[in-house]
């Protein structure tokens, strides 16, 4: 039996931004990968670690985490299947943050040596990977704006709109619903708010028929309405096809 294609969802999401040639996809298929299962809560990569492999998520939900001295943490990014979450380590060498499994995850590790080889042989593929980290940075800008300038309800709405768009790109949204298996504390860590404030705002959003979040499932009754409320402009997710 042939092993699953670790980059299947990565190729699917990046193909919405640029065409990938057959030989480029074939090269990704031939990359040696090591599959691993990471249970919820496990640190996939530790802060300050020096990694010689990068990991891509094939199933589940992971987050980047930065800890403060008093034990609190800010989750600075959420990653879904197809995200090459730890491509950053390829160039960073030493990690400035941790990557944590938010649900049971399947991840695939690729050695930096084979990444270097493939980038050298297929420069366009190198730019595709580069684009994925540039999109990560664009998402970071959107989150910074939420933390600094949007109301709490808008920030929650914006995050929900973003996840809806990103999960739609990998075919993981059904009837404007998608799973988000996060605890109240994890949501608070993600949004930089207290649990109580998040709960109050979720209640408001539910009463206003903008977002329903329950039992690890998110439902958006009217996507256009939520996008307008949250001032969500999907341009930063870069879902348009153009040669790169």
């Amino acid at each position: 039996m042939s092993s699953p294609f670790a980059f299947e969802l990565f190729v699917r999401a990046m193909s919405l931004r640029d065409d990938m040639a057959e030989d480029e996809v074939a090269a990704l298929k031939s990359l040696p990968v090591r599959f691993e299962k990471m249970p919820k809560g496990v640190e996939i990569i530790a802060d300050h670690a020096r990694a010689d492999h990068s990991c891509i998520i094939t199933k589940g939900l992971a987050a980047r985490a930065v800890y403060t001295a008093d034990g609190e943490r800010q989750l600075t990014a959420l990653h879904i299947p197809g995200d090459f979450v730890d491509l950053h380590a390829f160039l960073l060498k030493i990690m400035d943050h941790s990557v944590v499994a938010m649900s049971d995850c399947d991840v695939a590790f690729v050695s930096h040596r084979s990444l270097l080889e493939i980038f050298t042989r297929y420069p366009h593929l190198g730019r595709i990977f580069w684009l994925s980290t540039v999109v990560d940075a664009a998402i970071q800008r959107a989150w910074t704006t939420s933390l600094g300038r949007r109301t709490a309800a808008q920030s929650i709405g914006h995050l929900v709109c973003e996840l809806h768009a990103r999960l739609s790109a990998i075919g993981a949204v059904v009837g404007n619903s998608f799973p988000l298996p996060l605890t109240q504390q994890e949501l608070a860590d993600l949004l930089g708010m207290s649990i109580v404030h998040v709960n109050r705002k979720l209640k408001e959003l539910r009463a206003d028929r903008l977002v329903r979040m329950e039992d690890g499932q998110v439902h958006i009754p009217n996507v256009a309405q939520l996008r307008e409320f949250s001032e969500f402009d999907p341009i930063y997710l870069n879902f348009f096809k153009e040669p790169r």
Binding site: T151, Q184, M193, S194, I195, V196, H197, N199, R200
Partner: protein
Amino acid sequence: MQKYFFHTVANGVATHDEDGTALPDEAAAWHEASSAFGEMIKEVDGEMQIGSEWTMQVESESGPVFVITLTSSRVG
């Protein structure tokens, strides 16, 4: 874990927390209340009226535990 309820009155609007939040102890409930009250104030954004009172009352399943109050009034 114990359930704590965070009821608020802001700009004359009372919000009763029926769902509650599960927290380890009273210290955690106080930390949550003082953070959430701060966040509530942050969102006032010029809308607090002179002569109003904003409160957050924390209740455990056995009764009220804390209350935080913010009042505004004209002094001159």
